[in-house]
């Protein structure tokens, strides 16, 4: 039947990642020689490399071959499309894609369907007619940070947003979620500046320096990714405002965790890329085995700060268990 | 002067100023229908400026131009062409990647079906225009495959295509041989007979007297005289041009015994084959030959500008081991190239900078250029070669050709060069400056420097050389000592056997 344009936030045909085994039973054994193709945005950001690690680790465990490719940069839409098409032509059994934009991988849906290859949209941008989506909600990233400020800065204050590349889906969504939540609170918190950082550490550093000088009483920054957040942290340190100005990132890359532990970065919205990769791979293989996987598989994310980092990332922490516990406790 | 005769072209009060120079000051010029009119003046007198205004490239500050009694404002090259004025520019104005025919019809393409260039018809017409000048030039050959002389002929043929009322020729023969000039002269006579007016700019007095009936002489951008050439002499015209009598100098020899340069078996493919000769201290060695006989290439090889495929060059008995211009310059060899604009000058840089270029290490003993010393020395040398205008900080591209040439000569004097290689040293250079350059060459020789002069002008070789080598098809065909020098002797050796037999 005709699919409706997908909105991962509101789609009712959904399942939480932790329910996959419960609802669908144990993981079926993939046929020998199964080949999985995966195309992500770019490998220059650790987030996408970690996602790939997730694919590979589960793939290895189950003995399937995974080809993991990425475009040269985050703007290379046509290049990413070519890569995906080439994989279809090559005849992979299932295709995992993380599109650059909502539109740029649209053509592969038809091509893959013709070739009988299931396509799973993993994270970030959403192909409207995607039959399957695995990932978190981008908007929710910003919302979570906004809620932290609302809860932890009751006396209010000035906030600033460092945005990712102008016009990129994830950046737009995260910023919008943050701003809307702060605005809806209508309280003493106020976003006084929202400036482009283009996913770039140096630009973000410069922007933050300028903003700190303009608003020395700023209470916090929300950055659309961790790379930018780590640049902002340096600017804050340089202005001797560490501890006074909270800085949040997004993604949950290794360096962000290190910085949180060191007491510099206040927090990051971790979307657990390795786990997401594993979940996506599991979903893809289940779909390949013709199991009735719902259209949306929601993956976890959590706001990680110094207070809870050991719980998620500490030595010997069982991330899956912790996150399942979060689900049970309704976090 | 028959002032009642109708004027084809009448220019009055024409003034053009450039920053720091008045190139034309109230210049006037009058040319009758069917007249071949020489425009004479020293380098920098303003001839080309006048011609450029006439062809719509430059706009005058003041003054009027009337053609057949009608006053014109020439806003663009196209407007000038529409007014029946065709132009042969001093600097070749061609597009290397396009063919001969495409260049000749550039900006006025013949069309087929209104949309496409009619190449066939263009090429037929181009061939027709080229035929009386040089039938060997193929209209479909790209310009870049042609030699300078051929390119100049294409430029002339292009002007003939226009059926113009006035054809202005700015040094059309600077790269041509005497025989090519003869053909041009015949073409000019034919045009004049049909009532076309020709303005002929040249520094070659014999050509002027051969082709032109009247002459306008200018100096420092001003009108000096309008003469009937039949009633005057070369000496008188030159005197008017330079403002004084030019003493006719005789050849002076300063040859010493010591050999400074020995070339043995020097070769570069088929362009230069097995060239061997010696050059002595204080000697002026002429090299004659037809166009394409390999003279330029020989000089470039000696100067290290091109790679040799065989042979040796030794200075003072020490062979040059390393290739390249630097080694040659270090050994005391300097080249004054044939194509100044392409190989000689760095156009945007000042005259001083151009003079000092090869001597930078000397002017910067501790790595930092000592500007005062450099300027003082370069300035002195430039004054010595009589640079005009004496503004050493002007970009060199703003100087006239003769003055650029003086700059290049000063460059090698500054570099302490012992062996100077002149390739067509007086091409496009006025008669006064020519005498100065001859004087310079002789003074250099008298100071114990050695000189090689490549020239297509036989009188120049006869005037300067202590000895002449004649090149033919890349080989040195003959060596003529001063006693045996004559135009006939040189020509006899320069012409290939095949042609002589015919």
């Amino acid at each position: 039947q005709e699919l409706k344009p997908l909105n991962p936030d509101t789609e009712t045909d959904r399942i939480d990642w932790s329910q996959l085994a419960t609802k669908l039973g144990p993981m079926p054994k993939p046929a020998a020689g199964t080949r999985v193709g995966a195309v992500s945005k770019t490998l220059t950001n650790e987030y996408w490399r970690l996602l790939g690690e997730g694919y590979q680790s589960l793939g290895k465990k189950l003995g399937v071959k995974v080809a993991y490719q990425a475009a040269q940069n985050e703007g290379d839409q046509v290049g990413q499309l070519s890569i995906a098409e080439t994989m279809i032509a090559q005849g992979v059994n299932v295709l995992l894609v993380s599109p650059q934009t909502n539109a740029n991988l649209e053509p592969i849906l038809g091509e893959a369907k013709q070739a009988g290859i299931p396509v799973v949209n993993v994270n970030d941008a959403v192909i409207p007619l995607a039959p399957h989506y695995v990932g978190n909600v981008q908007r929710d990233n910003g919302v979570r940070v906004a809620r932290w400020f609302i809860a932890n800065r009751p006396s209010g204050g000035k906030l600033a947003v460092i945005e990712g590349q102008a016009g990129v889906f994830a950046a737009t969504q995260r910023t919008a979620g943050f701003k809307a939540t702060i605005a809806a609170e209508g309280g003493k918190l106020k976003v006084v500046a929202s400036v482009p950082g283009n996913w770039d550490r140096q630009l973000s550093y410069d922007a933050a320096t300028t903003l700190l000088q303009q608003h020395p009483d700023l209470v916090g920054f929300y950055c659309n990714n961790d790379t930018m957040a780590l640049g902002v942290v340096e600017a804050v340190k340089n202005a001797n405002l560490l501890g006074k100005v909270a800085v949040f990132g997004t993604d949950g890359i290794t360096d962000a965790h290190a910085s949180i532990r060191a007491g510099e970065l206040t927090g990051t919205v971790d979307s657990f890329p390795v786990l997401t990769g594993e979940v996506a791979m599991e979903a893809a293989l289940r779909i390949l085995a013709k199991e009735p996987v719902p259209r949306v598989v929601a993956t976890p994310q959590a706001l990680i700060t110094k207070d809870n980092i050991e719980r998620y990332k500490g030595k010997g922490a069982d991330l899956r268990a912790v996150l399942e516990e979060d689900v049970r406790s309704g976090k | 002067m028959a002032s009642d005769a109708p004027s084809r072209l009448h220019i009055q009060g024409l003034t053009k100023r450039f920053p720091g120079v008045v190139a034309l000051g109230e210049m006037s010029l009058r040319v009758r229908p069917g007249e071949v009119h020489a425009l004479l003046g020293e380098n920098g007198a303003g001839k080309s400026t006048l011609m450029r205004i006439l062809s719509g490239v430059l706009r005058p500050d003041e003054g009027t131009i009337a053609v057949d009694g009608e006053e014109l404002t020439l806003r663009s090259p196209l407007a000038a062409r529409r007014a029946g004025i065709a132009m042969i520019h001093q600097e070749l104005q061609q597009v290397p990647e396009l063919t001969v025919a495409q260049n000749m019809f550039l900006g006025r393409a013949l069309r087929r079906g209104g949309l496409f260039v009619d190449r066939a018809r263009q090429e037929a017409l181009a061939a027709e225009a080229l035929a009386p000048l040089d039938s060997a030039i193929r209209p479909d050959a790209p310009i870049r495959s042609l030699r300078v002389a051929q390119r100049q002929i294409v430029e002339i043929a292009r002007a003939l295509l226009d059926n113009a009322r006035i054809i202005a020729m700015d040094e059309p023969t600077s790269s041509l041989t005497p025989s090519e000039f003869e053909r041009l002269a015949a073409v000019i006579a034919g045009l004049a007979a049909r009532g076309v007016s020709i303005i002929y700019v040249s520094h070659k007095m014999d050509e002027v007297f051969r082709t032109c009936s009247r002459a306008t002489i200018m100096r420092d951008g001003r009108f000096i005289a309008d003469l009937d050439l039949a009633g005057t002499t070369e000496g008188a015209v030159v005197a008017q041009m330079v403002g004084r009598e030019l003493a006719v100098a005789e050849h002076r020899s300063s040859v010493q015994a010591e050999t400074v340069l020995s070339v043995r078996g020097l070769s570069a493919g088929t362009k230069v084959v097995d060239a061997s000769f010696d050059l002595r201290r204080g000697e002026v060695l002429g090299i004659a030959g037809l166009i394409g006989s390999g003279r330029t290439e020989l000089l470039r090889l000696i100067a290290g500008a091109d790679r040799r495929s065989g042979g040796t060059v030794a200075v003072n008995g020490r062979p040059l081991v390393r290739a390249g211009t630097r080694a040659a310059i270090a050994a005391g060899i300097g080249l004054v190239p044939e194509e100044r604009k392409r190989d000689g000058i760095v156009p945007q840089r000042s005259m001083v900078a151009n003079v000092a270029l090869p001597s930078m290490p000397r002017f910067a003993p501790r790595g930092i250029v000592r500007g005062r010393r450099l300027r003082a020395e370069a300035g002195r040398l430039l004054a010595e070669v009589n640079l005009r205008p004496m503004q050493i900080d002007r970009p060199i591209r703003l100087f006239s050709g003769g003055n650029q040439q003086k700059g290049i000569i000063a460059r090698w004097i500054a570099a302490g060069t012992q062996i100077l290689l002149f390739d067509e040293p007086t091409r496009g250079i006025d008669i006064g400056a020519k005498a100065e350059i001859y004087g310079l060459i002789e003074r250099l020789a008298a100071e114990g420097k050695s000189v090689i002069v490549v020239s297509s002008e036989l009188p120049e070789l006869l005037r300067l050389s202590d000895r002449v080598l004649v090149m033919r098809q890349g080989r040195i065909a003959a060596e003529l000592p001063r006693e045996a020098l004559s135009e006939q002797a040189i020509v006899a050796h320069a012409v290939p056997q095949s042609v002589r037999a015919a």
Binding site: T86, Q90, E106 | V95, P96, T99, A109, R147, T177
Partner: protein, 325 residues
């Protein structure tokens, strides 16, 4: 009578006739080498389906690169092709979504592309600015306009009729490939057979000579940038048809791919030289490379490495095949 020249002038016709294929020989050699390497290293590379796939994937870059070639021939450069494509895509898609017939919407988009090009050309000619810096400025400006016009959101809902047309086949070839071939033929015709083509070569080869010969310099340059804008817009139409959406950030870094294709194809960034066939081959080289590396499952960082090295090697092969002159 003396003969004028010593050595008989080398029969020039002979060399010119030979030179036309020779000019593109180096590029062809590069392509053949790359195809050979991948044919051995990447199974599935040398199948008909994959080769068609490569052509289709190269078509968008080829289309942009053809316009770029004309600009480069005229002695300029156009860094703004990507944003121009985005603006046109956004306009056409909005019109189609609003119900305007696709033909009209596409024409509007193409016209907008040409207009953007005209602005570039006018700034260069009448402002007397350098092409690199003008199009660097409009690169930001046009992109910003596209983002502002759409608020950064893609425009969805391009009619199926239009998409079917663009994604169709003509005689076994994908429509995009056919369109690009037609464009290439036209560009070749313009460059080699029309006065305008001569003007382009002349302006790029020797602007002063062209001026003196009465070539309309400004019109010629503006024309080149308009064609570049037009072809960028055409590439955008193909892409909109393929994606079914128009994005304001479409065309990111297209300029570099297009310049690389033209340069690999033998265009000189000094102007006055460029080959339509060469540019097509250059675009296919880049496309084949990306395709082959993906088939070989080369990791992205190594793909980037290969891209850089292949550009350098293609240029070196070309250089030595053509002789160092």
């Amino acid at each position: 009578m003396l003969t004028l020249t010593d050595k008989a002038a080398p029969a020039p016709g002979a060399t010119t006739r030979l030179r036309v294929p020779l000019r593109d020989f180096g590029t062809l050699l590069g392509l053949v080498l790359i195809v050979l390497v991948f044919a051995v290293a990447a199974p599935g590379f040398l199948t008909e389906r994959n080769l068609l796939n490569i052509l289709q994937q190269s078509s968008i870059n080829a289309c942009v690169a053809l316009g770029m070639t004309l600009v480069i021939v005229s002695g300029g450069i156009d860094l703004s092709v990507g944003p121009v494509a985005a603006l046109s895509a956004v306009l056409s898609a909005s019109l189609m979504v609003a119900g305007v017939p696709p033909v009209l919407a596409v024409m509007a988009g193409l016209a907008l592309g040409a207009a953007c090009g005209a602005v570039n050309g006018a700034l260069i000619c009448f402002g007397g600015l350098q092409p690199f810096i003008v199009t660097l400025g409009t690169l930001s400006t046009y992109r910003a306009l596209a983002l502002i016009a759409t608020d950064g959101n893609p425009i969805f809902g391009v009619p199926q009729s239009f998409r079917a047309l663009v994604n169709g086949n003509v005689g076994g070839l994908p429509m995009a490939v056919v369109v690009v071939l037609v464009v290439a033929l036209l560009a070749g015709l313009i460059l080699r057979k029309t006065p305008f083509g001569e003007y382009l070569l002349a302006v790029g080869g020797n602007e002063e000579a062209a001026h003196i010969a009465g070539v309309p310099i400004a019109l010629t340059k503006i024309g080149a940038y308009m064609l570049s804008g037009l072809l960028a817009a055409l590439a955008a139409m193909i892409l909109v048809g393929r994606l079914g959406a128009a994005e304001p950030i479409l065309g990111n870094l297209w300029e570099l791919d297009a310049i690389a294709a033209a340069a690999i194809g033998g265009a000189s960034l000094m102007g006055g030289k460029g080959s339509i066939l060469g540019t097509l081959l250059g675009a296919v080289i880049l496309g084949a490379m990306r395709n082959g590396l993906t088939l070989m499952n080369v990791q992205a960082f190594y793909q980037l490495l290969a891209t850089g090295l292949i550009i350098l090697f293609a240029m070196l092969i070309d250089r030595f095949a053509r002789g160092r002159a």
